[in-house]
């Protein structure tokens, strides 16, 4: 064994690492060397680093256990600072220059772990421990200490500097798994002309074939299911997923391959890749894991970018959403451990993993290894170790019956074989130093003899569990199979509901069963036999759960947390079923299994969100003259998706001062308000009037051309939905306005009724909110200012009165001008095509500034509408307010014909006299009304009698004013109510009838 270069356990030759490209990296501040092509795990193993992390509950030392996503021991915190990654699995971390990793869960350090004392007390920390203890005086007293011990990695403190993306894919066939089975399926489907996407979670294709080479001839490794290729082919063709004919020769290739020519894996891979590349519609994604299988064949993928180190990569990770007509699972199988006392020590590793480290990375996982298995696969490890010059201390096989081929192989290797033997205990300290092997009794329920083997490492193979998580996610039923000791499809093939619904095929190793012998040591302390390594769940925990009647597998899971760690039971589910079944004396197949759910492997949240973070979390809408507002001191706030000016600040002004200045300008001269988000809908057609009349509480049958009617629209429940005006242009054309927030909701509401309820009405609904910019010119000088602009519209009060509308031209462009008012002042609400908004705005300012015109923000606008007591739907009303609550009861009741919501107004609750009603409040100078304060009347027996919905200080009178919803409010006009905020009586208010300003409306009617 080479003692130089990148690690003492690195073999002098072999593997696919690049020995000419050494890489240095750190674990816990200590420097090590590896090679390009290494993973963090392989490089650490090469350097003989055994203890890498600490276990979750008992803080036991843990090392590399696997060579893939099922890793349970080698979990590290990667990188520092903002680029930190918690709980990285070392076998999946591609080694890069300068990589820094830290052990996790060690507190304060891996080698001296304070949490380790927990292990000494582990009998105390049995499953359900928390439920039985820490009850006095209360859990909260103990919680902070317990919490500190929990968790593995750390969340980086800063914002993530990396970029992520999401993408969409469509294909005829999605193949999950780039092993031999997957590549051959891709070739088949691609040759048939199908659009194919193949994904492989590792950075290299080939799966097991990449490193396993061919099995020695005549040695059947797996009992494979029937002709996967022909099944796949038939299905693809039948469902039209394969548009072209399948070449006749392809029919048997996949199956034939099993026995046909034996060529080296690398050569086979190169040939296959060349063939795949020649196909036009085959897309191959490496470093890409299929993580979720959702309804209707939608599959999610997580793609990792190569760890280039260069900042050029556009995204660290990418989350793909694939819509596939068929899915082929060529996901292989996950090797399972053996269960015996102290089976969790560093130095104990899955045999397949040990073999991968050997063949791919040229790393020996130990120098004096022992092998324990219950199936044929581990013998290949023995062979490879021997060929690499490592002395194998022996192979323990839990089976008694072992095939002649295997026996011949062992003989050829001259390795000692212990048949019918299982490891029963190990000793450290720390990493494994000694293994006791026990000879199993005939029925494997006890041992007849035991002996110790001093070794420095132990490879275990407890069988193979097909990786069918995605199949189960799609609704496929799995059942425990006694022969292979794993979960397999309950109804194999096309007849299963999942296969039918989701069109899933399972091929290759994922579809096969590897027969196994016993895997659980019948002796040894059950509290030291780990089942779920990541969550520290032992056989004793399962025993306890069952004893306490937590017998369903779901209860066992929740009581012990088995299978709930980040690996989601990839190496514990199968064995735990066998253990539960044995303890309960039932067949494991009767137990069912816990639900497998997405994701298959943990997925970075940032990747799932992709670019929909920060400013792109939600779209933003800009006003037609947004830039002008920003350039002119506007304070912009969000109102729904819109960015709108609340006030235009002058230097040194506060928001309040600006608001008062603007409102004063409007009351004295004029203001210019950008109301473009106001909802605008055209309703055309011979039945337009009839149609609209079904939505408003107001009678539209009497509406005259060019007149505007204010109206309220209800939900079918009777609650106020929206308010606005309806204008009749002519018998076939109506214009509807809505509140800004409801513009698209109202349009959609009208469409829903048109399409679903009244399809025979001849109406067309055209939302035009965005077509027209809306600029409100309000104030006593409004007419004078507008008159300065070139127009064909007569602005005189008699020709163009309040609540009417005119179409014409203004500054040479089409304009629709309304006389409606939200401030209580004479107002022209001018609509021009949006691209003309700036021209109009500039012209009005130029004309009006000399007369005192100022831009007007929402703050001042809303204050002035408060003075007028105008209803603001959504502020004064909520989802329970009906017309009578806000003074529209008579109108609503007097309309003869049916309209949406009408019937609900007669439900008893809506007729009660003690409902909340909209009133005004005034108070002494100095009182400040706070929106959201509650009211209590003197004689009240209620918890609350209402609340303030809008409040401010009148510009006109400087007095505090408010609108409120008050129980039986209209009856209480003239009385006083108490105000409460933060649970404290704040003062009193007088109940009044709004408005607070210009009660006759003379100003707006001017």
């Amino acid at each position: 064994m080479s003692r130089s270069g990148a690690g003492a356990y690195r073999l002098p030759k072999g593997g696919t690492v690049d020995r000419d490209a050494p890489i240095s990296f750190e674990l816990n501040g200590k420097r090590y060397r590896g090679y390009a092509g290494d993973t963090l795990a392989s490089a650490l193993l090469a350097n003989g680093v055994r203890t890498i992390g600490r276990s979750f509950k008992f803080h036991r030392p843990r090392g590399v256990f696997a060579c893939g996503v099922e890793e349970t021991g080698a979990l590290v915190q990667l990188h520092d600072g903002a680029r930190g990654i918690p709980t990285a699995r070392a076998p999946l971390v591609e080694l890069t220059e300068g990589l820094r990793a830290r052990s996790q869960a060690g507190w304060p350090s891996v080698n001296f772990d304070l949490g380790r004392v927990l292990d000494l007390f582990s009998p105390l920390w049995a499953a359900g421990f928390y439920n039985k203890t820490f009850i006095w005086p209360s859990w909260h007293t103990y919680e902070p200490v317990i919490r500190r011990l929990a968790g593995l990695g750390r969340v980086p403190p800063e914002r993530d500097p990396d970029r992520y993306e999401t993408g969409n894919l469509h294909c005829d066939v999605l193949i999950v798994g780039g092993g031999r089975a997957g590549l051959e399926a891709a070739l088949e489907a691609g040759r048939a002309g199908a659009r194919v996407v193949l994904v492989e979670q590792h950075h290299e294709l080939g799966g097991e074939a990449l490193w396993a080479q061919q099995a020695p001839e005549g040695m059947p490794l797996h009992e494979s299911s029937a002709s996967t290729a022909s099944r796949l082919r038939t299905r693809l063709t039948a469902e039209g997923a394969a548009p072209q004919e399948w070449p006749a020769s392809a029919a048997s290739r996949l199956d034939a391959g099993r026995t046909a020519e034996v060529i080296p894996a690398q050569a086979w891979l190169a040939r296959t890749m060349a063939q795949l590349r020649a196909l036009p519609d085959v897309r191959i994604l490496t470093r890409t894991t299929a993580t979720g299988c959702y309804d209707h064949n939608v599959i999610t993928l997580l793609e990792r970018s190569p760890p280039s180190g260069s900042a050029g990569a556009s995204a660290r990770e990418r989350y793909w959403i694939v819509r596939a007509r068929r899915v082929v699972l060529a996901t292989g199988a996950i090797e399972q451990p053996l269960i015996f006392a102290n089976n969790d020590r560093p130095g104990i590793m899955l045999a397949g993993a040990a073999r991968q480290y050997l063949r791919r990375y040229a790393v020996a996982f130990g120098s004096r290894p022992l092998i324990a298995t219950n199936n044929d696969s581990a013998y290949l490890l023995a062979k490879d170790l021997r060929e690499a010059g490592v002395r194998v201390l022996g192979i323990a096989d839990t089976r008694r019956e072992i095939s002649d081929e295997v026996r011949a192989l062992v003989r050829a290797l001259s390795i000692e074989l212990f048949t019918g033997c299982i490891p029963i205990d190990t000793r450290g300290p720390g990493s494994v130093r000694r293994v006791w092997l026990g000879e199993l009794s005939q029925d494997a329920s006890g041992i007849t003899r035991k002996h110790a083997v001093d070794c420095d490492s132990l490879a275990v193979s407890g069988g193979f569990a097909p990786a069918l998580q995605l199949y189960a996610q799609a609704g496929g039923k799995l059942i425990y199979d006694g022969t292979s000791g794993a979960l397999i499809p309950a109804t194999p093939g096309a007849s299963s509901p999942a296969a039918r619904r989701s069109a899933i095929d399972i091929v290759g190793m994922a579809a096969s069963r590897v027969p196994i012998g016993p895997r659980i040591s019948p002796v040894g302390k059950s509290s030291r036999k780990w089942v779920d390594f990541l969550h520290d769940v032992t056989v004793a925990d399962i025993e306890l759960a069952l004893r306490e009647n937590y017998t369903s597998v779901e209860h066992v899971k929740r009581y012990t947390t088995l299978g709930m760690a980040a690996d989601q039971g990839k190496t514990s589910a199968a064995a735990s079923l066998e253990i539960i079944a044995r303890l309960r004396g039932v067949r494991a197949a009767e137990l069912g299994h816990t639900t497998m759910r997405p994701p298959f492997v943990p997925v970075t949240l940032g990747a799932i969100a992709g670019r929909d973070v920060g400013e792109r979390f939600a779209p933003q809408r800009l006003l037609p003259i947004h830039d002008w507002h920003v350039a002119n001191g506007a304070v912009m706030h969000d109102f729904g998706e819109w960015r709108r000016p609340v006030v235009y600040l002058r230097p040194g002004e506060t928001r309040e001062q600006g608001m008062i200045r603007e409102a004063t300008a409007v009351r004295n001269a004029a203001g210019l308000f950008d109301g473009s988000p106001l909802g605008k809908i055209e309703v055309h057609g011979p039945d337009a009037r009839d149609f609209l009349d079904r939505f408003y509480i107001n009678d539209l049958s009497t509406l005259q051309p060019l007149r505007a009617r204010y109206g309220l629209m209800l939900r079918e429940s009777g609650a106020i939905f929206d308010d606005g005006t309806v204008v009749m242009l002519d018998a076939n054309r109506f214009l509807v306005t809505t509140t800004s927030g409801n513009a698209s909701r109202v349009a959609q509401w009208l469409e829903e009724w048109r399409q679903c309820e009244w399809p025979n009405l001849r109406v067309a609904i055209v939302p035009v909110t965005e077509q027209w910019a809306t600029v409100s010119l309000a104030g006593p000088r409004a007419r004078d200012i507008l008159a300065k602009l070139e127009s064909d519209i007569d602005l005189s009060g008699s020709a163009f009165p309040h609540l009417s509308m005119r179409e014409g031209t203004l500054l040479g462009t089409p304009a629709r001008i309304y006389r409606v008012s939200f401030t209580g002042e004479l107002t022209y609400e001018i609509n021009v095509p949006a691209k003309r908004a700036q021209t109009l705005w500039d012209a009005l300012l130029a004309a009006g500034t000399p007369l005192g015109l100022q831009p007007l923000g929402l703050d001042a606008l809303l204050l002035m509408r408060l003075e007028k007591g105008f209803l603001h739907v959504g502020t004064d009303t909520d989802g329970t307010t009906v017309p009578n609550d806000v003074g529209w009861g008579k109108v609503a009741a007097s309309k003869r014909r049916d309209y949406i919501g009408k019937r609900s107004l007669r439900l008893p609750e809506n007729l009660r006299a003690d409902r909340l009603q909209l009133v005004g409040l005034t108070a002494e100078q100095g009182t400040s009304f706070v929106v959201g304060s509650h009211l209590r009347t003197a004689d009240s027996t209620e918890v609350t009698d209402g609340w303030i919905t809008s409040a401010g200080t009148s510009v006109a009178s400087r007095a505090p004013i408010a609108l409120a919803m008050l129980r039986a409010g209209r009856e209480r006009i003239g009385s006083e109510v108490d105000l409460y905020d933060a649970g404290v009586l704040q003062g009193r208010a007088r109940v009044v009838q709004p408005p607070f300003f210009d009660p006759t409306g003379a100003r707006m009617n001017a």
């Binding site: 930190g84 918690p86 009998p123 105390l124 439920n131 039985k132 203890t133 009850i135 209360s138 859990w139 909260h140 919680e143 500190r148 929990a150 968790g151 593995l152 750390r154 969340v155 914002r159 993530d160 990396d162 992520y164 309804d295 306890l544 306490e548 009647n549 369903s552 779901e554 209860h555 759910r597 997405p598 994701p599 943990p602 997925v603 970075t604 949240l605 799932i608 969100a609 929909d612 973070v613 792109r616 979390f617 939600a618 706030h637 969000d638 429940s717 609650a719 909520d878 989802g879 329970t880 008893p908 609750e909 929106v931 959201g932 209620e942 609350t944 609340w947 409460y980 905020d981 933060a982």
Partner: protein, 408 residues
């Protein structure tokens, strides 16, 4: 110290937490549904009313419904007085439940912050907070700076800036499974039969009175039957000839891999549409909306998963590098006003306790207590009178969403 003794004896002395009973031919009261509500109802029937000849029939395993898959938020800061009174009764029962049941339900009253992202929302939030205060339940407004102190990883200046919020300090989380098991254990000890793998498939009803239930394990007679089957309420009610105003939907939740403590409070945002807390094991538990359509699949879809995660990252951008570990869903029973349906039905002797939708975990103790009272006396407990089935006919909805903008 029982724990220590048991530890030394290899935990061999622990007894079954509850008896797995064989169903008898008849009971005084049959409770359908072995979720939190059903088990608590049985417990309080036995404990408060001396009615011990009670069976809880569960089609699968107890706690396998929503009670065993929810995000554990317990609070009583409801807008409507009827609601906050009821839920505060529940929270008070929770506060002593661990001791009462001698089972640690891990109630952690770490506080819950409800965020406001605009001035308008802040006003609504204040109205809501004050409504809670008026009802003598704790609740206080917070400034952004206070929020940052309580929840360090929160981003105040995101796309949806945090302009304030309120907090109920007594709100918290507790361990859902423990609540179910604790009630089961205590009820069983008082003589209640807990029958798992027993699905109710029909009712015996004569002259407008319930006489018993038919089950996958035979017919069981009872003059009083209560349905507390959450998402299956419409289905079961139909077997009794009733149509309920309930829609069953898949409500989703998800967890990240466990990390060291980073978030000590529960944070909810209605307009960003997500909430998050950190469990004692370290996972960030995230919840949000339901998939938009009727579903009994007990499985969540993709759009809601993405929406929730985007929302959580909007609130906590530094969680970007955490990883999602598991995503699941429950069948929730949503009423038109998102308030529960509790009490009598038009069929004599048949009671309902459902409509808990997205928020009935916190209600388990009070739901059990008041239903037990209602069943024992035949008169709806005053706290649940507002939640009667006939409120819809009267138009007397108790709609948190409509009034406070946030349901749940």
């Amino acid at each position: 110290m029982r724990m220590l003794g048991q530890a030394l004896r290899g935990h061999s002395g622990w007894r079954p937490a509850w008896r797995d009973a064989q169903p008898k031919s008849g009971y005084d009261v049959v409770v359908i549904g072995g979720g939190g509500h059903g088990l608590a109802t049985a417990y309080y029937l036995a404990k408060n009313h001396g009615i011990r000849n009670v069976a809880v029939l569960e089609r699968g395993w107890i706690g396998g419904g929503n009670s065993g898959r929810n995000t554990q938020v317990c609070r009583s800061n409801y807008f409507h007085a009827a609601s906050s009174s009821f839920y505060d009764h529940s929270l008070r029962l929770y506060e002593h439940l661990g001791a009462e049941l001698n089972f640690n339900i891990m109630l952690s009253q770490r506080g819950l912050i409800q965020l406001a992202h605009s001035e308008h929302e802040l006003e609504i939030t204040r109205r809501w907070c004050n409504a809670v205060r008026m009802n003598n339940v704790d609740c206080e407004m917070l400034t952004p700076a206070q929020i940052q102190r309580l929840a360090a990883p929160i981003e105040l200046n995101g796309r949806f800036p945090v302009v304030g919020g309120f907090m109920q300090r007594r709100a918290g989380i507790s361990r859902h499974d423990a609540v179910v098991w604790g009630y089961a254990r205590a009820a069983s000890a008082l003589g209640v039969d807990i029958v798992q793998n027993c699905e109710v498939t029909g009712f015996d009803i004569a002259d407008g009175r319930v006489r018993g239930v038919r089950t996958s394990r035979g017919t069981i007679a009872a003059d009083k039957v209560v349905m507390s089957v959450a998402g299956y309420s419409s289905h079961l009610a139909a077997l009794a000839g009733l149509r309920l105003p309930i829609t069953t939907m898949a409500l989703q939740a998800m967890v990240t891999e466990p990390v060291k403590p980073i978030l000590d409070v529960i944070v909810i945002s209605a307009s960003v549409h997500a909430y998050a807390s950190q469990s004692d094991r370290g996972e960030i538990v995230m919840g949000a909306g339901a998939d938009a359509y009727n579903s009994y699949a007990q499985r969540g879809g993709l759009p809601q998963q993405r929406a929730t995660i985007c929302a959580v990252l909007e609130l906590f951008p530094s969680f970007s590098r955490l990883r999602l570990m598991r995503q699941w869903a429950g069948r929730v029973d949503i009423t038109p006003d998102t308030s529960p349906l509790m009490g009598l039905t038009p069929i004599e002797g048949l009671f309902i306790n459902c409509g808990w939708g997205t928020g009935g975990y916190k209600a388990i103790p009070a739901g059990g207590d008041t239903m037990a009272h209602t069943i024992a006396t035949g008169v709806p407990h005053p706290l649940i009178a507002p939640f009667a089935l006939d409120r819809f006919k009267r138009g007397a909805l108790v709609d948190e969403g409509a009034a406070a903008g946030v349901a749940h």
